[in-house]
Amino acid sequence: MVNFIVEVNSLVKQYGSLRAVDNISFELYEGEVFAFLGPNGAGKTTTVEILECLRSLTSGSAKVFGYDVTKGEDVKEIKKRIGVLPQDFSALDKLSVKENIDLIGGMYQKKLDTMEVIRLLDLEDKAKERFENLSGGLKQRVGVAAALVNDPQLIFLDEPTTGLDPKARREVWQVIENLKKLDKTVFLTTHYMEEAQLLADRIAVINKGKIAAIGSPQDLISQYGGLKTLIIRKGGKKLADTLQQKYGSTTLNHNDDVLMKADSVNEMWRALSTLTNLSLDKEIEIQTPTIEDVFLKIVGGRITEEGELK
């Protein structure tokens, strides 16, 4: 029997005339990394904050570990069992890393040893450093450490890498990979396609408060990602015409590269064999679709670095 850690049914959150979350339903399975992927204002944080018992819901239901997020006594139980890295995490500037983690740990009856959590996040060298002196990546790691201090079964990571440089972003990804190894259930929200594809077991694409698609990255790609592309660098027009005649779906880009969409693996092999027969001395690349292609297909736009839909 599958254990649902989170069950959301027909959830709606209305702010005046704005429907921030529009009748969404989904579940989280024990031990998975589940990603909410969407642009700013899609309803990611609102949904997560309802599950964290920080916001009220307008209608529908949301349960975490079977506890109702709207019931007072249930809320207490939920708060004991979840760990949270909020969006734009911050802590007391003049306190050290250890003192800040102690502060969050002090709120729980059952908690891990602070130094153990610090070691887990590889923060030993920074344990006595004041929070104000840390880099963005290190601050996020402190946030994750604080989220782990009560040894939660479910961890919410709300936009954990937004605003970080690529190096710091990879550090945080490594931390999330480690959480997976610890069998923690992780609810990740992000607007970075690569992050969702790399880390998540399942992704829900969310836009304008609605879930547009949900599934594993592979499922989403095979369902919405489209065809694999064979790229022959500087192949030229003649080659493009040849492949177009044989297989169709071939175009020439402005770099003189030939791009051929293959319907199946067999077609890809046949095209490669054609190229071998032509004894071409060209660079060849096979491009598989990504979550970005999925998103483009489902939502009809791309997300900028800042999280805006364009």
């Binding site: 018992c53 920080l54 708060k79 734009d88 995490f89 306190l95 003192e99 102690d102 709120m107």
Partner: protein
């Protein structure tokens, strides 16, 4: 009960390690106490007020007359004034303004009119003859029944001659002119000093002494200095600013940075958070009080002796203004608005609540305003507890502070948002 303590420790550590927080919460009040103490304690060799004197009463050789010089000596003996002579042939107001010195100040001029000595002597003689006549007349009225007609006639003749002589004496009165600016706040004090010196001079000239002896006594067992008044006031004022300005700014800053949101996701309750902050403010207030009293003892020899009532008063004051800060923190969203609102409330309250000067100095309508300000009761209660040791006064103020503390904490709890909309 552990969570409020965790919050208390964290918030307090965060504050103690903040240089600006430490400066404005502790160092600034100490500096203010030192400045106020230095200005108002009365010791330390402060300079006397400048008093310009134009003596127009001159002898034919141009020197000042004996009596006018004696009057100036009497003024000088008060050690209140640094007397500056104004030449007789100049407009004293213009001359005084030009000779005030680089730092400016208030212009106060005494002008001794021409003929001062003659008028004083004539006036004194007339007064003396008048007194003698009055005395002899009273004596005559008392003994008249025992005198024969010849004796009566001789006496009455003598009295009539004395009266005639007195009437021939000029009705001389001399005047002193004291000129000062209407905006001069010390003018009334200076005027009284000059009048007192003139009266003493009068008594001396007519050979009279005052029959009313003036004794000074303190209404309390100790004698208090100005700093004894200011010390509890400054402590109370900074308990207020720490609550209203610092706590409000901190709360909004924590809110803006999502720290309160992060804590609210844990099992921490709103009341745990409030209690932790109130405890932190109380510790801060106790530290402030201890340091201020220590400085007061060492530098100004103040009488302040903290006791249990003082500590209770400080605790209640901290609760009251923490609650006030929570109310403001709940009403405003950004740090700048919180700081502006805190300042807009704290500063008028500081000056209207008898903190830096007694409320009696204020017009009655402002005194009415002061009576509804929370700081008035904390200032008053602390003054009674710390300095005057007047328990009844402490309890009256304590009752008001307690009621306001409860009201503000309840309102602050309601307005502190622990859950997003």
């Amino acid at each position: 009960m552990i969570r409020p303590l965790v919050i208390f420790l964290a918030v307090t550590k965060n504050w103690i390690r903040s240089r600006s927080g430490l400066f404005f919460s502790i160092m600034f009040p100490v500096l203010l106490l030192l400045v106020f103490g230095a200005i108002f304690s009365g010791g330390g060799g402060g300079s006397a007020s400048t008093l310009f004197v134009q003596n127009l009463d001159r002898n034919p050789d141009g020197t000042t007359t004996q009596l006018s010089s004696a009057f100036l000596e009497a003024l000088n003996s008060t050690k209140t004034f640094a007397i500056k002579d104004v030449p007789a042939d100049v407009d004293p107001k213009v001359w005084a303004r030009d000779n005030l010195g680089p730092l400016g100040g208030n212009i106060r001029i005494v002008i001794i009119s021409e003929g001062f000595q003659d008028d004083v002597l004539n006036g004194t003689l007339k007064v003396r003859v008048g007194i003698s006549y009055s005395l002899l007349n009273t004596t005559y009225q008392y003994f008249a029944p025992y005198l024969n007609e010849t004796e009566k006639m001789a006496y009455e003749q003598g009295l009539a001659q004395m009266q005639m002589y007195n009437e021939t004496l000029p009705d001389a009165r001399t005047s002193l002119t004291l000129a000062f600016d209407a905006s001069d706040q010390s003018a009334a004090i200076i005027k009284n000093i000059v009048i007192n010196v003139a009266n003493a001079f009068n008594y001396h000239l007519i050979g009279a002494t005052s029959v009313i002896e003036f004794n000074e006594e303190s209404v309390t067992s100790n004698r208090y200095g100005a700093v004894d008044y200011y010390l509890p006031g400054i402590i109370a004022a900074f308990i207020m600013t720490n609550g209203i300005i610092a706590l409000t700014s901190n709360t909004t800053e924590f809110k803006r940075r999502g720290i309160i949101k992060r804590l609210s996701i844990t099992p921490l309750t709103k009341f745990d958070w409030i209690i932790g902050n109130v405890l932190s403010q109380t510790l801060l207030s106790l530290m402030l009080t201890a340091i201020m009293i220590l400085v007061g003892w060492i530098v100004f020899n103040v009488q302040a002796i903290p006791d249990a009532l003082t500590i209770i008063m400080i605790f209640l004051g901290s609760v009251m203004f923490s609650g006030f800060g929570m109310v403001l923190g709940g009403l405003v969203k950004d740090v700048e608005a919180a700081s502006a609102l805190g300042n807009a409330i704290a500063f008028p309250m500081m000056f209207l609540s008898g903190t830096y000067f007694p409320m009696e100095f204020m017009p009655s309508y402002l005194q009415s305003v002061a009576r509804v300000l929370p700081l008035t009761y904390l200032s008053g209660g602390l003054r009674y507890a710390l300095i005057y040791k007047y328990a009844e006064g402490v309890f009256t103020n304590m009752a008001v502070v307690s009621a306001l503390a409860v009201a503000f904490i309840i309102l602050g709890s309601v307005l502190t948002r622990w859950k997003e909309k």
